[in-house]
Symmetry: C2
């Protein structure tokens, strides 16, 4: 099976393919993930020709800096995709569901970070460090990236799985508010302002009363609190965030039978998702061996000397690219079981960085001789 | 085997035992848990004669309200335990290790909330709803209560264990700062003041720089952060908080072979510990059956309609007595596996309330005809 890509000639047709720089569109350029994406595109090797910024009509006309150049934002519409080789979508699911097919019809290969196409059997779900090969086969012209909670999990556990064979995962998340977009960040900042300097947090419901209706996109106050819910209700009491991590992990690891239980909890952190992970493998493992595998895994950094205060925390990893792994412990009950703690920037590797990495994979393929 | 209680005559000796009200001492009356304990002693049925308040020499001379009466605080010392029938210790471990034996030698039955004696084979470890019977056998004259993270776990899982037979637990905690005492609360409040109204939390280390040395009793900033560490280092990378929950759970449930993995994480919440729990049982279970068992368990309240925003959060349960259980889900992979989310007030059921309950058990026994 090869990629269905109606406009393959748009790049290859200009000659050998070498030398031509593909055009990139960023759809959702004015959002929280979009801002990080533009920053990532402005550093390191520049493989792109035009970088076109697209956002809702409301944001069109603004200018944003990318690669040091002020670039006007175009309104989302059919014309916006004319001549675009690769379109990265960093928009909510319902916008992606509507506009990704339009971009594909216009000849773009789409990299979508939303949940709209992740579980489509004809859409590869890609974490480049783990399954880059899957990005080459895209029957619908779409490559999806997983959710911002799945990403740090897979980057680290995929490496351990390759060496040790994963048989079960139990995951509890500590998710930052920016995973719910700029509205999530605004809600936490407003709530923190309401509780700072008070004696709140010691009587039932006092935080809830102080926050009132200002819960933002969350079903309960998140300042001085944790909220054991993310997403929408699914069957059996699960949240969509929880079933998402489960299904995405199984798909990316190619293990549709993997036992995996997930509990998603929102915490009062601006950016940086953390995960407490309990993993059972097919083979026995030591802490030393796990450290070695993780240290050699692309995109993963080991930070694990708790007696010296060395463990990953979101406040330390925010703004960095890799997934940070620490608190690696082997179960005293079973030499095949590890517990560990992972942190990653949910806007960066959790969304924008993973999308850029996929877009670069596609670009390399399009421009290959 | 019966309780070794050198001063049993001090109560029984005054007559039939009926009518005589035992004298209670609260050691650590001026601390965070002490304050809650005095509040609990001031409500409901009053079974105590004298209530004597004891604290460090530094706090002696202060007066605190208990049962509506201003009561002077006495300095901790050998004389302070004269005539005390039951002494509840709510002090740090090293103080308890030094002074509990003194109180016992003076004839008091001691209820200790610290870790000093919990794992002593001759000291029963008691959560009254689960193993009240164990409090009657106290070879050293001491009854211990478990740590504030173990308590909500055991109150709920003990009830499920009795019906379904527990075979494995995987626990991740979301622990409030008051679990580290008033210094923990002061540290979070100071840190929140430092970050409120700022744009902190979006660049690596910016929260750490703003907080500086003001981390209080924690090894990293806890405002706008989560800290995957509590306690002191133990073998194999585990923290003392984690091995504590493991060993205490096994002891209270009478299951020294229970498979249990724990990850303890501090979160920016003033009071209210939360737990994400993954439990495997010997028998199959449904969500409905689990709800039924939990709803009938003493000291447990079920709060589980997430689609209506009904789940336990620390901000809602702080200041309440019970352990709150929600987010009950059965694994799609195994009908013997449940995931659930528990919240409890770590100063109340997590420490003061459990100690009062144990003290009342002992008092009932001492005054029985």
């Amino acid at each position: 099976m090869t990629a269905a890509r109606p406009d393959a000639g748009a790049v290859g047709g200009t000659g050998s393919g070498r030398g031509h720089r593909p055009a990139l569109a960023v759809v959702g350029a004015t959002g929280a993930v979009g801002a990080v994406l533009l920053e990532l595109l402005s550093r390191g090797a520049d493989i792109w020709g035009e970088i076109r910024l697209i956002a809702s009509a409301r944001s069109a006309g603004r200018a944003l800096s990318v690669r040091g150049t002020e670039t006007g934002v175009r309104a989302l519409g059919e014309d916006a995709f004319e001549g675009v080789d690769v379109a990265v979508f960093v928009v909510p699911e319902e916008i992606a569901a509507q506009w990704v097919p339009v971009a594909v019809a216009k000849g773009s290969v789409v990299v979508d970070t939303s949940g709209a196409f992740r579980m489509d059997a004809d859409v590869p779900l890609v974490v480049p460090e783990i399954n880059a090969h899957a990005a080459r086969v895209r029957p619908r012209g779409i490559v999806a990236g997983p959710g911002c909670t799945t990403l740090p999990l897979i980057a680290a556990m995929g490496a351990l799985h390759a060496e040790l064979g994963l048989s079960e995962l139990v995951v509890s998340s500590y998710q930052a508010v920016s995973g719910a977009g700029q509205a999530g960040v605004a809600a936490l900042r407003a709530q923190l302002a309401a509780v700072a300097g008070t004696e709140l947090g010691t009587h039932p419901g006092d935080v809830r009363r102080a926050v009132g209706d200002a819960t933002g996109p969350f079903p309960a106050p998140v300042a001085l609190n944790v909220v054991p819910w993310a997403g929408s209700p699914e069957e059996g009491g699960w949240s969509s965030a929880e079933t998402g991590v489960r299904e995405e992990s199984r798909k990316i690891l190619g293990r549709p039978d993997l036992r995996i239980s997930v509990t998603c909890v929102r915490v009062p952190v601006i950016t940086g998702h953390s995960l407490s992970v309990h993993a059972r493998f097919e083979r026995e493992v030591t802490v030393e061996r796990a450290h070695e595998i993780l240290a050699n895994a692309p995109g993963v950094v080991v930070c694990d000397s708790p007696a010296e205060g060395e463990f990953p925390t979101p406040a330390d990893v925010v703004g960095t690219d890799p997934v940070w792994a620490g608190r690696v412990r082997r179960s005293p009950d079973d030499p095949r079981v590890l517990d560990l703690f992972l942190c990653g920037d949910n806007l960066r590797k959790g969304a924008a960085l993973n999308a850029v990495q996929i877009a670069e994979l596609v670009a390399a393929e399009l421009t290959a001789p």
